[in-house]
Amino acid sequence: MAKVLMKGCEAIGEAAVRAGCRNFFGYPITPQTEVPEYLAKRLPEVGGLFVQAESEVAAINMLYGAAGVGKRVLTSSSSPGISLMAEGVSYIATCHLPVVLVNIVRAGPGLGGILPAQSDYLQATKGHGHGDYKLVVLAPSSVQEAVDLMYEAFDLADHYLTPVMVMGDGMIGQMMEPVEIPPMRDLDDLPAKPWAITGAKGRKPNIVNSLYLSEVACNANNWKMKEKYDEIVKREKRSETYGCDGEKLDVLIVAYGTMARICNTAMAEVVASDKQKRIGLFRPITLWPYPYEALAKEAEKAKQILVVEMSTGQMVEDVQLAVLGSRPIDFYGLTGGLVPSPDDVADKLRKILT
């Protein structure tokens, strides 16, 4: 199919439709408002349902209901809105329901600012809501990858019966790039959901519930969830490397999302001015499950590691867990909506290399 030029947010919306999602509930917030804007027009065209809820808290509970009756369902928000949804996502995870969330991250904490950031890393990967649950977190670095991951996110959610988050920064949402849009999924081919609440005619009622007053039953469900997460950890880690083909590296950069592209340009700039230097880049695509082993393997080649993020260093602890003290780890980051430029990263690299 021919490529089309699309803004990240709109491409994300279209990818969801193509993936068989016909239900969106959300609330506007910059810099992701173009997702609901696009779907408000697009979903009715394909017989879908779009609701602008009265708040993020209401929206996530609408997802809870829609997922409970077996529908593919999406919400999209940005940092403060995602915080408001945390309680609902915890309920959804506990009930083993598949939903897809998009977080186009803006500067925080607090109401923060509307400019790009990566400061929701810990929230997305380590906790979000309360209780023993995990989010699968996918981090695209281009509009095309955002489309591809969105398309797949619904399958992952349905396969593991768990919430999946696609997390991009404001640049992914606002940038236009050529994209190839995947084909429309046939709704009849979507996975069967025998557990869904569809009216109990002729069968025993299904129950979707996250309240466990019996401690034994609650414990059992938590371990059932843990088993699922272990399976995801085993099977779903993804990452990419750039410039890591040689045997030795002076520096291995670790960055994700748009920041990885900026680092890629910075890396090329430094190598062009000093051909002796060997710099590689490791880009996690799944932030949870984190690709620890793949990173450890690349880190073995490197004298040292540089983590670059639009945060104060939220991913550093995962990098530490990957290399287990075997390599020194340096960090460069800006926050508040400031985006490290290729020149900023190149300067940092040169400082490390001298």
Partner: protein, 183 residues
């Protein structure tokens, strides 16, 4: 080859639009493109800009700290971006609204009365296309023919603007090609 241009001016002058035209044209020619808008909190009369990168190979950073070209339609944009341009960079200045020049002597500057030309040709609102024409005249990031096609496609639903928009674009293009800067 990779071209990088920042297009900047007051909100409403149509900088996002000409950036998109360039990006569409790049896509049409089978090139890699990125279009990244500024989307900060702005007040009325504030400055809006977008960065367009067109290249033969996959594009790394869509964000460019020191671009190879800038198209500026108001004075704050000139003051902001002229100092960031690479050596020998291209600077296209809307001289209808910007009385000053950059004090750098290592740039290829081109001044053009975009608002006046657009008004003379019959559509005051297409000053942005005069600017795009001048930029393409200075550096064929894409061919001018592809831009003309992109204009036709973009204004499909407003066909009354196609001719005047193509005309204003070509006026800017030819003046820049001929090196007729408004100095």
């Amino acid at each position: 080859m990779q071209t990088e241009v920042i297009m900047s001016g007051f909100g409403g002058q149509g900088l996002m639009m000409i950036g998109k035209l360039l990006a569409y044209a790049g896509l049409e020619e089978g090139k890699e493109v990125t279009w990244l808008p500024s989307y900060g909190p702005e007040m009325r009369g504030g400055t809006a800009n977008c960065t367009v990168v067109v290249g033969d190979r996959p594009i790394g950073s869509p964000l460019i700290s020191s671009p190879k070209a800038a198209v500026v339609m108001n004075q704050p944009s000139l003051e902001k971006f002229a100092p960031t341009l690479k050596k020998n960079g291209i600077l296209v200045i809307n001289s209808s609204m910007i009385p000053i020049n950059s004090d750098r002597d290592d740039l290829r500057s081109f001044r053009i009365k975009a608002n006046d030309i657009a008004a003379e040709l019959g559509n005051r609102r297409s000053a942005n296309l005069v600017m795009l024409g001048a930029y393409i005249g200075m550096e064929e990031a894409v061919t001018h023919e592809t831009i003309l096609k992109a204009i036709e496609k973009t204004f499909e639903k407003k066909p009354q603007f196609v001719e005047v928009n193509c005309k204003t674009f070509m006026e800017g293009y030819e003046l820049a090609k001929a090196g007729k800067s408004d100095d």
